[in-house]
C-alpha cells in the first residue's frame, strides 16, 4: 500500500510535472504511436474484411460441397457431367457455367453463373429455398437474377435490361429479380444453365461441377480416382482449397501492407524513445534528487517504463479507435480494394477480429515500453551525484559494446536474403530488412565515433565550433543520426524500389506494345471475341499493313494454383527475342523436341520451369508436351502466363476466335483514319475497343501509380514520424546544452552565431545520417527488389536509381534537419541561457 502510494506521489512529482512542462512533445510521441497503430489496424481491418468477405463469397459459391471439379475459362465438354453424376459414390451433383461478361456501355464486367436450380437444390437447399418463386422466372431464356451487390453496383432492379457483349455484339438479358440477400455476396448474376450456354455462346461446355458424396465415402481416395477420369486441365479439388487458392493470390500483397504498417509502428516507437531520452534529460536533476532521497534505481526504472507503458496505452487506444474509423470510412467510400484490384467484385462489410485488434493494441504498448526502457535503464544507471551536477556521461557510451552485435545482426540479415520464400511469403526477406536496420542502428555509435574525427575543421568559427562540438559528443550525434537513418533509409528503399518497378514496367510496355493500334473484342470479360470473318475484315482494312491476332485462354495446372493465362499468337521461334521481353537466352527446340512455349517469369517461378524443359500443358482437354523455349517478363498476369504459336493452338483446339489484334499501319496511313475505317468495317460490333499504344501505356502506368498510392501514403506517414524523431533529438541536445550556450554567449558569441553553429551541426549530422541512410536504403531496396518482390509476386525488375529524386529528398532532409536544429536551439536560448551557466553549481 505504502509503496503504491509513494509511487503515485512520485509519478505526480516526476512524470506529471514533465507532462505539464512540455505537453506538445508528449502528445507528439503519443500521436506517433497512435498513427503507427492506427495504420496497422486500418490496413489489417480492411484486408481482414476483404478476405472475410471474399472467403464468404467463395464459400457461398461452393456451398456444402465435398468436391469441386473445375475447368479453365474455356471449360470442358458437358459429357463429363452425366459421367460423374452416375458414379456410385456421388450423392448429388450440380453443374455450372461461369463466365465474366463485359457489360455494354461501360468497361466493367460481371460474373454470370449458369446453374441448374434443380440440381443445385440438392446441394444448397437453403440457397434455393430463399429463391422461392424465382426458379420459374429463372427458366426464362432471357432471365438473369442479380445479387444485391450487383444490383446496387449496376443501379438495376427487377424488370431492367442488362446488356452484355458476346463476341463483339451485345445481348440483352432481363433482370427477373434479385437473389435473396443471403445468397451471394459478390457482384454476380445467376442464369439457368441452359440459357447461359445458349445466350453466352457456351453450348456444350461447363466450367464447374460441384459434388456431394454419399456419407462414408473416403473423399480423398475418391478424389484421387476421380482425377484420373478428368480431361487434361480439369481438376478436382475441395471447397477449402478453392477458398485458400482465391485468397492466396492476394496473400503476399496483404503481407506487404501489414509490413509497411509495422514500419510505421517501429518509427513510432523510435519517437517514444527520443521523447523519453529528452524527458529523462530534462528531469535528470529531479531523478537525482529522488535517488538521493531513497528511491532505488529499480524503482526509478519502473517509474520511467510505466510512463512509457502509459503513453503506449493512451497512444495504442487512440490508434485502435482511429484505425477502426479509417477502415470503416475507407470501406464505405472506396471498398476493400486497397488499390491492387484483388477484391473488386465484393462489397465489403467491416469484419472485426477482436484478437487482431488486441494484438495491435498490445504491439503499440510493447513498442512504447521498449522505447521507454532504454532511456530508463540509462537514467537508472547514472550516478546521482554526477547527474546532480548535470554532467553528461559520454564515457559510458564510448565502450561501443553494441558494435559486434550490430555487425552480427547485419551479417545474419544478409544471410537471410539468400533464403527462399516460406509458404510462398518473403518472411525471411522482411526479417533480413529488420535485422540489417537494427544492426545498422547498433553500429551507428561506432560508425559515428569513427567518422567524426575525420570531419574537416573549417575556418569559419561557428562551423569550427560545430565540428568540435560534434566530435566531442558522438552520443548525441548517434541518437540524431539514428532517427534520420531509420526514416531516410526506408524512404530511399521504397523510392528506389518503386522507381525501378515503374521504370521496368515502362520498358516492358515498350517491348510488349510494338504495334501502332490495338483492338480488343471487349474490354475485359471472357465472352468478347472476333470471329474469323471479323478477323479477315480487320486485316483487310485500308491503312493496315499487318495484323497479329491473339487468343487468350486460361489453363489450370493444379488444384491449389490459380489458373495461368494461355496466349496464342504468332511467334517466330527463331526470333522470339525480338518480339518477347525475354529475361534470358531463348532456345529453338530441335526437330525431335515438342513445339516451343515461352513461359512468363511468374509461371517459371511457380512451376519451376527452366529453358529447355519439356513440360505438359492441358490445352483443349489434351495434355500437350512443349519445350520451354524462353522465359519472359510479365507484369500483366500475376498468376503466370504461357505463349504458344497461334497456328499450333488452332491445330490443337480448332478454335479460330481471337480476343485481341495488334495492328501495324501502312506507311503514310493516319491513325485517326484507320481507327475510323476499322469502326466502319466492324459496324455493329459495338463492343470493340480500339486503343493507340500510347493510350494503353498511359492507362497501364496510371494503374501502376494507383496500385502504389497506398504505399506512398504509408511511406509519407513513416517519414513524418521520422522527422518528428529528428526534431525531438535535436531539442534534447539543445536542452542539454543550455549551459554551453550560456558559456558561448559569455565568451562573446552572438545568438546569430550560435544559430549558425547549430545549423552547421544540423547539416553535419543530417548529412552523415543521409549518407548512411542512402547506403542502407540502397541495400534495403535491393532486398525489396530481388527478394521481397521476387518472392511475393515473382517478377523481376531492373535496378533504377532515381538520382534526382533522391538528391532532392536528401537536400530537403538536410535542410529540414538543419532548420530543426536552429529552431530547437532558439527555443533553448529563449530562456535565460546566460544564467544557465550557473545550473551546475
Amino acid at each position: 500500500m505504502m509503496r503504491a502510494a509513494t509511487l503515485r506521489a512520485l509519478f505526480h512529482a516526476a512524470s506529471a510535472g514533465a507532462l505539464h512542462d512540455n505537453p506538445g512533445r508528449f502528445f507528439l510521441a503519443l500521436l506517433g504511436i497512435a498513427l503507427g497503430v492506427s495504420l496497422g489496424v486500418a490496413v489489417h481491418l480492411i484486408n481482414a474484411s476483404a478476405l472475410n468477405e471474399f472467403s464468404l463469397a467463395v464459400r457461398g459459391l461452393t456451398g456444402k460441397v465435398d468436391l469441386v471439379i473445375r475447368g479453365p475459362r474455356a471449360g470442358f465438354a458437358e459429357e463429363l457431367y452425366p459421367k460423374v453424376a452416375r458414379l456410385p459414390q456421388v450423392q448429388a451433383v450440380s453443374p455450372a457455367v461461369e463466365i465474366d461478361v463485359p457489360l455494354s456501355g461501360s468497361s466493367d464486367r460481371l460474373k454470370l453463373i449458369g446453374i441448374d436450380p434443380f440440381r443445385m437444390a440438392m446441394i444448397q437447399p437453403a440457397l434455393l429455398a430463399g429463391m422461392q418463386n424465382q426458379i420459374t422466372d429463372l427458366l426464362d431464356p432471357d432471365a438473369v437474377l442479380l445479387s444485391h451487390a450487383a444490383a446496387d453496383w449496376l443501379g438495376m432492379k427487377a424488370g431492367d435490361t442488362l446488356r452484355a457483349y458476346v463476341g463483339t455484339t451485345s445481348i440483352e438479358l432481363k433482370v427477373a429479380g434479385l437473389l435473396p440477400p443471403s445468397a451471394y455476396r459478390q457482384r454476380l448474376g445467376v442464369m439457368d444453365i441452359a440459357s447461359a450456354q445458349w445466350r453466352l455462346a457456351r453450348l456444350g461446355r461447363l466450367n464447374r461441377i460441384d459434388l456431394r458424396l454419399h456419407p462414408g465415402v473416403d473423399i480423398a481416395a475418391f478424389r484421387h480416382d476421380l482425377a484420373t477420369l478428368l480431361p487434361a486441365g480439369v481438376i478436382v479439388t475441395t471447397p477449402d482449397v478453392e477458398v485458400e487458392r482465391s485468397a492466396s493470390v492476394s496473400r503476399a500483397y496483404r503481407l506487404n501492407l501489414d509490413m509497411l504498417a509495422l514500419v510505421a509502428l517501429f518509427t513510432g516507437a523510435f519517437l517514444v524513445y527520443s521523447t523519453q531520452v529528452l524527458s529523462v534529460l530534462r528531469r535528470r536533476t529531479h531523478f537525482a534528487l529522488l535517488r538521493v532521497t531513497g528511491l532505488t534505481r529499480l524503482a526509478l526504472v519502473r517509474l520511467l517504463v510505466a510512463e512509457g507503458a502509459l503513453m503506449g496505452v493512451a497512444g495504442s487506444t487512440l490508434g485502435v479507435v482511429l484505425g477502426y474509423g479509417v477502415a470503416a470510412a475507407m470501406l464505405k467510400h472506396f471498398g476493400t480494394d486497397l488499390g491492387a484490384g484483388y477484391f473488386d467484385a465484393i462489397s465489403p462489410a467491416l469484419h472485426v477480429e477482436p484478437g487482431a485488434l488486441a494484438l495491435f493494441w498490445l504491439l503499440g504498448i510493447a513498442f512504447c515500453v521498449l522505447g521507454a526502457t532504454l532511456p530508463a535503464i540509462e537514467a537508472g544507471r547514472r550516478a546521482p551525484a554526477l547527474a546532480l551536477k548535470a554532467k553528461d556521461e559520454e564515457e559510458s557510451f564510448k565502450k561501443q559494446r553494441a558494435m559486434p552485435y550490430g555487425m552480427a545482426l547485419i551479417g545474419f540479415g544478409l544471410a537471410c536474403t539468400q533464403a527462399p520464400a516460406l509458404t510462398g511469403l518473403p518472411l525471411l526477406g522482411y526479417l533480413a530488412i529488420a535485422l540489417i536496420l537494427l544492426g545498422t542502428i547498433l553500429i551507428l555509435p561506432w560508425l559515428v565515433a569513427v567518422l567524426l574525427p575525420r570531419l574537416p575543421a573549417p575556418r569559419f568559427p561557428p562551423a569550427l565550433l560545430a565540428t568540435a562540438q560534434l566530435k566531442a559528443s558522438p552520443r548525441h550525434v548517434a541518437i540524431s543520426i539514428t532517427a534520420i537513418v531509420t526514416s531516410f533509409s526506408l524512404m530511399v528503399a521504397m523510392l528506389i524500389m518503386v522507381g525501378s518497378f515503374r521504370n521496368s514496367l515502362d520498358h516492358w510496355l515498350t517491348r510488349v506494345l510494338p504495334a501502332d493500334l490495338y483492338l480488343r473484342a471487349a474490354r475485359g470479360g471472357e465472352t468478347g471475341f472476333f470471329t474469323s470473318e471479323e478477323q479477315a475484315r480487320i486485316a483487310g482494312t485500308p491503312g493496315v499493313a499487318s495484323v497479329r491476332f491473339l487468343r487468350s485462354q486460361n489453363l489450370l495446372l493444379g488444384p491449389d494454383r490459380p489458373p495461368i493465362s494461355l496466349l496464342a499468337r504468332p511467334v517466330d521461334a527463331g526470333a522470339a527475342h525480338h518480339t518477347l521481353p525475354l529475361t534470358g537466352p531463348s532456345r529453338v527446340p530441335r526437330a525431335d523436341e515438342p513445339p516451343p512455349v515461352w513461359v512468363s517469369e511468374i509461371a517459371a517461378d511457380l512451376f519451376q520451369y527452366h529453358v529447355g524443359d519439356h513440360i505438359i500443358l492441358p490445352i483443349g482437354g489434351q495434355a500437350m508436351r512443349f519445350t520451354v523455349a524462353g522465359i519472359w517478363r510479365d507484369y500483366a498476369r500475376q498468376t503466370g502466363a504461357a505463349i504458344i504459336d497461334r497456328d499450333l493452338y488452332i491445330r490443337i483446339t480448332g478454335d479460330t476466335l481471337a480476343n485481341d489484334a495488334a495492328l501495324w499501319l501502312a506507311a503514310g496511313a493516319s491513325l485517326q483514319q484507320t481507327r475510323q475505317a476499322l469502326r466502319e468495317r466492324l459496324r455493329g460490333a459495338d463492343g470493340i475497343d480500339i486503343a493507340e499504344t500510347r493510350e494503353i501505356r498511359a492507362t497501364s502506368l496510371a494503374i501502376f501509380d494507383r496500385t502504389f498510392a497506398i504505399t506512398y501514403a504509408l511511406e509519407i506517414v513513416a517519414v513524418l514520424i521520422g522527422l518528428f524523431g529528428v526534431s525531438v533529438s535535436f531539442s534534447a541536445q539543445a536542452l542539454a546544452r543550455r549551459r554551453e550556450f550560456g558559456v558561448l554567449r559569455h565568451v562573446g558569441m552572438t545568438r546569430r552565431e550560435i544559430g549558425i553553429m547549430l545549423g552547421c551541426e544540423g547539416i553535419w549530422v543530417a548529412g552523415l545520417g543521409v549518407g548512411v541512410g542512402l547506403a542502407l536504403g540502397w541495400v534495403i531496396s535491393l532486398i525489396l527488389i530481388h527478394v521481397i518482390n521476387r518472392q511475393s509476386f515473382h517478377w523481376s525488375m531492373d535496378l533504377h536509381l532515381p538520382w534526382l529524386a533522391l538528391a532532392g529528398l536528401a537536400a530537403a532532409l538536410v535542410a529540414a534537419a538543419s532548420a530543426t536544429a536552429v529552431w530547437s536551439g532558439r527555443r533553448a536560448m529563449d530562456r535565460s541561457v546566460l544564467s544557465a551557466v550557473r545550473e551546475d553549481w
Partner: protein, 372 residues
C-alpha cells in the same frame, strides 16, 4: 387418376411455395410463360385409341403426365405397409428453341413414400430434374422413366421400380394380372363439365408386387399388391375446382374400383367419376351421379393444422364401402418439390365391417386450394 395434378403444373415452380406467403416477388410466376402457349399443348380429345405398350410411354406433347404406383406390402414379420412411387413429367414451354442439352423442356419429379404404422407417419423423399443428358427422362413407346438412380421401367411383361430414398430403398417388380383398365370413355377421362378439362387415363389394378425393401440398412423381401395409374393431360383441373379426393381399391375378390371427385369452393362435388371392374373382368364406368363420397371422421395434422377426412363412406354405383386408413397420419409434405401438402395413404376398404379390399386414398386441396 388423380395423382395430384398440380404436380405437373407446380413442378417448375419447385420450391416455390415453401414460403410463398412471405414472398415479396411475384406469384404470377408460373402461369405467365405458359399462358400464351397453352393452346399449343396437345389437347385431350375423345376418340383417341390407347395402344399398349406404346401408350405406357411418355407423351411429351402434353403438358403433364404421371405414373403413379401405390400398394400394400406384406413384410415377413407379418406387418402391413403402404408404399407410393410417383413419376411426374411436366412440359415447360413449347417454343423453346434453345439448342442446349440442358434446355428445360421437360421437368421430371419423383416422389416415394412409405407408410409404416410402427413409425406413425410417412417417410418420404423426392427428386426433381430436367430431362436430358441421360440423367433424367421418360421414354416414348414404353414405360421407362427415371431421375438419376430412381427408375421405373418395363422389364419383360412387368415393371420394375428402383428407388433409393433417404430413409429406405425400394427394389420392386410388378407383374400384371389383368389387362389395362381404361378409365372414362376408352381412356378419355373428364374432370369437369368443360370437355377440354380431361385426361387420358388408364390403370393397372391388382399388380403383384415382389422384391426387397431396405430400411435402416436391412433388406427384407416383400410381396403385395399394387395399382398403377398412368395419366396425361394438358388441362387437368377446371379453374373452379379446388382439390379432389381419389381412391383406388384392389378388391379381395379380384375386382377393382376407382372413384374420384373434384371439389368446388364450398367443398361439395364439382365433378366425379370412376370405374368398377368385377372379378369376372366386366368393367362398368361410373358417372358423376354414381359416385358419392361421405366423410365419417376427420383427423387434424399436428404439423399443419389441416383437417383431413381420413375415414369415408364411398358409394360407387351399386357398391358401398367404408374406408379406414392404415394410419391416420399419412399427410404428405412435398413443398420442396411440388409446392403443396396433401394426404396420400394406404386405406382398407370394408363392407359391413368386414375387410373387402386394400387401396390408396388421395386427398388434395385441404391444406390450401390446389392452384394450377
Amino acid at each position: 387418376m388423380l395423382a395430384w395434378l398440380a404436380g405437373a403444373f407446380v413442378a417448375p415452380r419447385t420450391f416455390a411455395q415453401v414460403t410463398s406467403n412471405q414472398s415479396p416477388v411475384t406469384s404470377h410466376s408460373f402461369q405467365y410463360p405458359l399462358e400464351g402457349y397453352q393452346s399449343q399443348f396437345a389437347p385431350v380429345v375423345p376418340g383417341y385409341q390407347l395402344r399398349f405398350p406404346r401408350d405406357e410411354g411418355s407423351h411429351p406433347g402434353f403438358r403433364t403426365e404421371w405414373w403413379y404406383l401405390t400398394g400394400w406390402l406384406d413384410v415377413p414379420d407379418g406387418t402391413k405397409l403402404g408404399f407410393q412411387i410417383t413419376f411426374f413429367r411436366a412440359r415447360l414451354r413449347l417454343d423453346d428453341v434453345n439448342p442446349s442439352a440442358f434446355a428445360p423442356r421437360q421437368i421430371l419429379i419423383a416422389h416415394a413414400a412409405l407408410s409404416d404404422p410402427a413409425f406413425g407417419r410417412l417417410r418420404h423423399d423426392q427428386r426433381v430434374a430436367r430431362a436430358g443428358l441421360g440423367l433424367a427422362g421418360a421414354s416414348r413407346d414404353r414405360l421407362e422413366v427415371w431421375i438419376d438412380g430412381w427408375t421405373l421401367h418395363q422389364v419383360g411383361p412387368g415393371y420394375r421400380a428402383s428407388i433409393s430414398a433417404r430413409d429406405f430403398q425400394f427394389d420392386f417388380t410388378f407383374a400384371a394380372t389383368q389387362p389395362p383398365l381404361l378409365q372414362g370413355v376408352n381412356g378419355y377421362s373428364r374432370k369437369g363439365p368443360d370437355p377440354e378439362s380431361a385426361s387420358y387415363y388408364y390403370s393397372l389394378p391388382q399388380l403383384k408386387v415382389n422384391g426387397a425393401l431396405t430400411r435402416n440398412g436391412k433388406a427384407q423381401s416383400i410381396s403385395g399388391s399394387a395399382w398403377l395409374d398412368h395419366e396425361w393431360s394438358s388441362r387437368y383441373m377446371d379453374k373452379d375446382a379446388t382439390g379432389w379426393d381419389w381412391i383406388g381399391i384392389n378388391l379381395a375378390n379380384g375386382g377393382a374400383l376407382m372413384a374420384f371427385r373434384m371439389r368446388d369452393r364450398q367443398g361439395g362435388r364439382f365433378w366425379a367419376g370412376g370405374s368398377y371392374r368385377s372379378p369376372d373382368g366386366v368393367t362398368r364406368t361410373l358417372g358423376v351421379q354414381d359416385v358419392v363420397f361421405t366423410p365419417r371422421r376427420e383427423w387434424r395434422s399436428p404439423r399443419t393444422g389441416t383437417a383431413y377426412p381420413v375415414s369415408w363412406h364411398i358409394s360407387a354405383g351399386a357398391l358401398a364401402f367404408e374406408i379406414e386408413p392404415l394410419m391416420d397420419d399419412q399427410e404428405y409434405d412435398t413443398r420442396l418439390s411440388t409446392g403443396t401438402i396433401y394426404w396420400e395413404g394406404a386405406v382398407r376398404a370394408l363392407q359391413h365391417g368386414k375387410p373387402a379390399g386394400s387401396g390408396y386414398l388421395e386427398m388434395t386441396g385441404y391444406w390450401r386450394p390446389m392452384q394450377i
